[in-house]
Amino acid sequence: MSAIETGTSQRPGLAALVERFPFLPALVILLALLALNGWFQPNSLGFRAITGLISTYLALMMLSVAQTYVVYAGDVDLSVGAILSLVNCVIIVLMERWGGGGIAVLMACALGILTGLACGLLNGFVVAVLRLQAIVATFATSIFFTGIALYVLPVAGTPAPTIYWRTYGGRFFEIPFVFYVVAALAIVLVMATRARLTTQMLAVGDDAFKAFQGGLPVTAIRLKGYMLCGVFSALAALCITGDTASGDPLVGGAMTLYSVAAVVLGGTALSGGRGSVVGSVLGALIIGLISSLVFYVGTPSQWQNLVQGLAILLALMLGVMVTRRVQR
């Protein structure tokens, strides 16, 4: 296999590295943000603060992973936030109705994931089978899902059972529960990059018509992307339920576009065909760190949105510039 090595060494080292690991620029930005956070508030790099950051942003990490799987194939899903809200309401109501015991919680979670899967299936059917425009179609389904969420739980505020949020915020063997979740997520994502489906989705994202001519089952692959997206959106809902400990039919609305931003920050091309889920996770963390940095710097509350927006814009520009420079 000596031919293989000569092939990659022909491209300059950094370019080859970024091409192989498209999330590298995001990783650098993330480390820089961590350093800045530490500079302004040394406590923010402490164990407790990092745990807090992860429990708050685990949901966005999951949601960004969900988004990545449809973006791989050149699609987009503007209903991930609505799916998250719906699943949040479904499990809250089920857990309350079933008494809030351990078994009830597990059953509710399983049903919540099935709900996410069903939502993804509907999205996939509308976009891949009926071939409606992904942006408009998933925007419509997002309104539909929000409608169901409002029917399931008309008013925000029903609390989650104590066992649920205590587990999410608790520790096992001195290690916070969310760290186990992150570890599990990492293992799943690394495994997923080796999956046949991932390569097939990326091939579809490169050029759907060529993929079709080449004999790939394009419709089925896009459908599977949306189903995966639904499942990860549901997992995101489980996380947010643990973090907020209550049900809210509108909790996810604002998170949809954050997930798209995280995907792009992570170095994935919105046109499809190129990217990584790891990058999306880093992108979600970048968004989280920017919010906390804005707070630590002591920005007056009325300016926080403005500064946060500018900072995200800056991070996006840096990432895109590095990627573009390297690809020339």
């Binding site: 296999m1 031919a3 092939g7 080796r194 080449g214 004999g215």
Partner: protein
Amino acid sequence: MSNLTIRGARKAYGATVALRRGDLDLREGEVHVLIGSNGSGKSTLCKIVSGSVRPDAGEVLIDGKTVSIDGPRAARALGLATFYQELSLAAHRTVAENISLPELPGKGGFFVDRERLNGIAERYIRRFADVAGEGFSADARVEHLREDQRQLVEIMKTLATEAPILIFDEPTSSLDRSQVERFFEVLRELKAQGRAIIFISHRMDEIFAIGDRVTVIRDGETVGTSLISETKPASIIHQMVGESELAVTNGAPPAAAEVKTEAVLSVAGLSAKGFVNVSFEVRRGEILGFGGLHGQGQSAVLRSIFGVNPTDQGTIHIKGEKRTIRSPREAIRCGLAYISGDRGRDGVVHGRPILENVTPIHFLRNKLSLVRPGSLRERAAKPLSALKTRFAGYDQPVNALSGGNQQKIVIARWLIDRPDVLLLDDPTKGIDLQAKTDLFALIRSLAAEGMGIVLYSSEDAELLANADRILVFNSGSVSRELTGADRTRYNLYHAAYEAA
């Protein structure tokens, strides 16, 4: 191993019949050449076999059994694999992944088996390793490969299916000599294994080097099949042209206009992506034709001259002055005009009123910023009526017009301020017969008024009827110039196929 038979295949797109009666009889252990001029229907026939086009009528039989090919996947399941002229590769995936797609070797049903993936890739790369050139390896990404290397990947991908019936639609158009020879060695081995192979090429020498039988298609109909060993290039071209056509055009090609004036555009040694070392001159009053098969560099030359695509080498003189053109704006200021057959991409400003669609060049050439609509209408009226454009009002959106009338609007835009050179890039694509007649009458009168005109047309009849001289393109360079009485269909095909 299998035999493939196609009987009476027919395919129409709206009113245009792409394939009238396609017949083909492919036997195991042969390389069967399919040949026909532009738009003769050979690609449609291939697409029917590969499953990307469904025939309106006719039947396809494999080993005597009627089959229905519902799509590319169904074709694969039936043992048919296709090399696509436009390639079916994923640019951001590696060579190894592309070779195995869509059937990636699996491990536990879920994961890609990297070892087997690389093993499969190595097996096919090995055959071409010494001719593939620098940077070609199993884990190189297709986006970084040269055009010929991508074509090799598509070849390997087709071979990796190990299908009994293989269809190669112009697999050698970018390959160099040694790559073609290696590919032919592989084809001969496959033939010996009893595979059935359809081969399309525009190089006559290749056809005679590898083919066993040849089927000629003309005007959407299969004309006949003959043994390569019993035929010769000239008689194949005779079949492509047809007896009646030969009799007519051999008699008298249309008289060429008398042109003795100075060259208005002269191009020397022009090279860029898609063509090499192209030189020619256009005189005032002359219509210079670009001919040959599709995509041999004709459009690329025109687009490079007009500054749409960058040029690597060569010089351009306009009215005797040397010019460097880096953008269409500069080209327009130099007195060039470019009209593309792809109106949607290059011509029409969608959804905007007719007046706005007629006047942008006028604005640019006169550096206008504010104009009274009334005076603009006056200026627009003359070219529009000269072109017999039918429209309800200047405020009507341009999309409301038919294709032919839209193209007239695009042409009219260049006629308010007359350019010196008109570059026509397959301008009659998708417009009706009457509009075509009007268009060519206009082009002739523009030439008579002293404009120099370059006309690329993919319809050979148009070219023969209207061009005073024809440059025939083959693989990105001019293979022959046809003048005077030489401008016959026979000579055109002869040059296009580089028949010896």
